[in-house]
Amino acid sequence: MFESLSLLTLQQYWWFILSLLGGLFTFMMFIQGGQTLLNTLAKTETEKNIIIASLGRKWELTFTNLVLFGGIIFAAFPLLYSVSFGGAYYVWMAILFCFVIQAISYEYRKKANNFLGQKTYETFLFINGSLGVILLGVAIATFFTGANFVKTDTNLSSWTNHTYGLEAVLNPFNVLFGFVVFFLARSQASLYFINNISEESIVQRARKQLRIDAVIFTLLFLVLTGMLLMMSGVEYHKEMFSMVKYKFLNNLIETPLILVVLLVGVASVLYAFVIAIRKNATNGIWFSGVGTVLTVLALFSLLGYNHTAIYPSLADINSSLTIENGSGSHYTLTAMSYVSLFVPFVLGYIYLVWKSMDKEKITSGEIESDNHHY
């Protein structure tokens, strides 16, 4: 089935899968957003435990999503993996550190004799939800803005500066991207709590908090979109690379499908905010989730298709990476494509399991009676 597809089609297919996964990951980052709201939404220890329980039963899915996101880049676009991770070293290492300290915090936070104390583990969760998310946004934004690397004829890369990714946090677009993801994560966390928790005091505070975070997110997102559409991008034809003004705006105009996906995605997220704030709806998270996936899918599509470099080199434009020069071979992409057929099955069992686990909202009674809770 996949064997007969051209290499370019397979490259486009895998960029689509990566974009979809990026969208799901961004959606699932409501876990991280929720971690930054722990002390804002919870006023008692029981309320804190409820929020931790609500997040703690799903945090591993986000974590797994990140691992898979890395794995897919490695397998499908190994040159992107090699250049970005090996070059923007400090940023990626800082991100990993933020996820390492998250992984033990839910389990160890309330355990007796936990060495570092409950506050430290809660701080770890906050760092993961704030610094981790912002830096992830910064790292992903460099795919649009580029980095100072060169690659040889044998595709081995090196960076022309010695800041190894630290310079990325000085780029306003990258930083703005990081904060957009951060406030989206917080907004979605509030929507999630409204849906998942029955404790009225938490739900009320979540609605109040949503008003603040959603407004900040919307404003920042508008500025970011404006900057993106005004930005220059690297375009390629065969092995010729050139800098093109308004590259992403052109991509949007030339591919109306992406424009539609973007508009539906953004509208869906905004609709989620409106119904949760104005109509006290509890199902906003689903609209916001679908909207987030579509929006990220559209943004990644603007980056990866229409002869656009997925990682521009600021040091040597001809070293820029594209889905064509950075991908796996036809054979590997074909083999991986068969594996990708398992993805709907995986999503299916995740949905079914969580449907049965979430059929009742979390209550203080459940938390107080449960021996094994975080």
Binding site: F63, V67, Y89, F97, V100, E107, N113, S157, V346
Partner: protein
Amino acid sequence: MENIALIDWSRAQFALTAIYHWFFVPLTLGLSFIVAIMESIYVKTGNVVWKEITKFWMTLFAINFAIGLATGIIMEFEFGTNWSNYSWIVGDIFGAPLAIEGIMAFFMESTFFAVMFFGWDKVSKEMHLFSTWLVAIGSNLSALWILVANGWMQNPIGMVFNPDTARFEMNSFFDVLFNPNAYSKFLHTIGSGYVMGSLFVVGISAWYLLKNKDVVKAKKSIVVGATFGLITSIFLIFTGDESAHEVALNQPSKLAAMEGLYDGHRDVGIVAIGMLNPEKQIGDKKEPFVFEITVPHALSLLGFHDTDAYVPGINQLIYGDPKEGIEPASDKIEKGKIAISALKEYKEAKKADDNATAQKSLVEFRANEKYFGYGYLKDAKDIIPPVALTFYSFHLMVGLGTWFLALFFFVLYFAMVGKLDKQKLILRLAVLSIPLGYLAGEMGWIVAEVGRQPWAIFEMLPVGMATSQLSVIAVQTTFWLFAVTFTALLIAEIKIMITQIKNGMEEH
């Protein structure tokens, strides 16, 4: 140009991460099955004591599982951050198993883990048991894909070098997937995890018996642990034999280091116990051992299934042995340099649209392609991994594995005849064997990975060519950051674990 300090710090960081990760993974692999067996007994008998036992061990499992995840995420990304050349040169093959692991195993683990821990009152008994089994299967499936990737590093097959992209590309997924080296490693690795899980259950239960605490539950646990341990120890011996056989076939330099074998010949014995001569250098005439006790014929027999089989030693691998058809390493290095130079000429000719030169260079490259990796080595002696570390790690691992088999046998025997609580010595040894299990597992990985040196991909890509072009200070910074972080988390884990154990088996 090679930067030795950068290579060594990159190695050190990966070793640090791998060693820490392997503190936690074996217990996850083994304890997940033991917990699933215990819960199965509960579901079948309806006896709530078994539910309490299951919940107790499940609590310890969760404490360990979390830190396993924390150390695991670094490993995947380190291939990119610290080994970016590696990521490009072999990413087309190596990346696939890692991605498949994510799709097929991680999601299964993380989804059903939540049901296992929070679903007791939310799903049916049967669904809960099913979830517990799926966590065990998921964690073992995860190990499968990782070891398919690692097995390929030890025995690279199913690929071809593409001179246009300057990388290895997969040409047979099934060769990679069914690599005999991967399967022997996978089975041996999960076997070691099962034994570690058993040692953990037996050791902690023994502590309860020594303290006369939770005696009924401890006795039930110890029987499950020792039975599982005895069966899996036998499995471990068989898979270890198969693993060593694969090493003999594909990695002669590793085998020579494992056995401290300097001069190869036919009908070689195995050193059962020995002390290497610390003054021995490659190429000199000094005796390799201060003392050794050898089992005759055994290395030829186990390595090649023939008592008269020839086993090359370190000297033959470096200096060659024409009678046995072994080329000197220096010749391989020369041919490797020709391959590197031919590839360079090929790339330049292609760039200049000079097809005739490109074709000529390609023919020369293909003729020497097999030795491509050797071209990056400086000295023929570099092909031998550190002998002492590989030798002692291997022998310590084998010795400890044999002890674990005996321990499980005695524990189970005395448990069956109802005299276990009186066997204080056995119980104390069982407690002491918990850290020994960790030690044996780490030694196993040292044999596998130190024994692979100087190669990242055996005989294809030396470690020195695989690193990212970073500054040494950047790698040193992250090395210490993670060394401190992992150590702090390990202390936290041990303290929590000990407190939970001291609290007893009630109320988990």
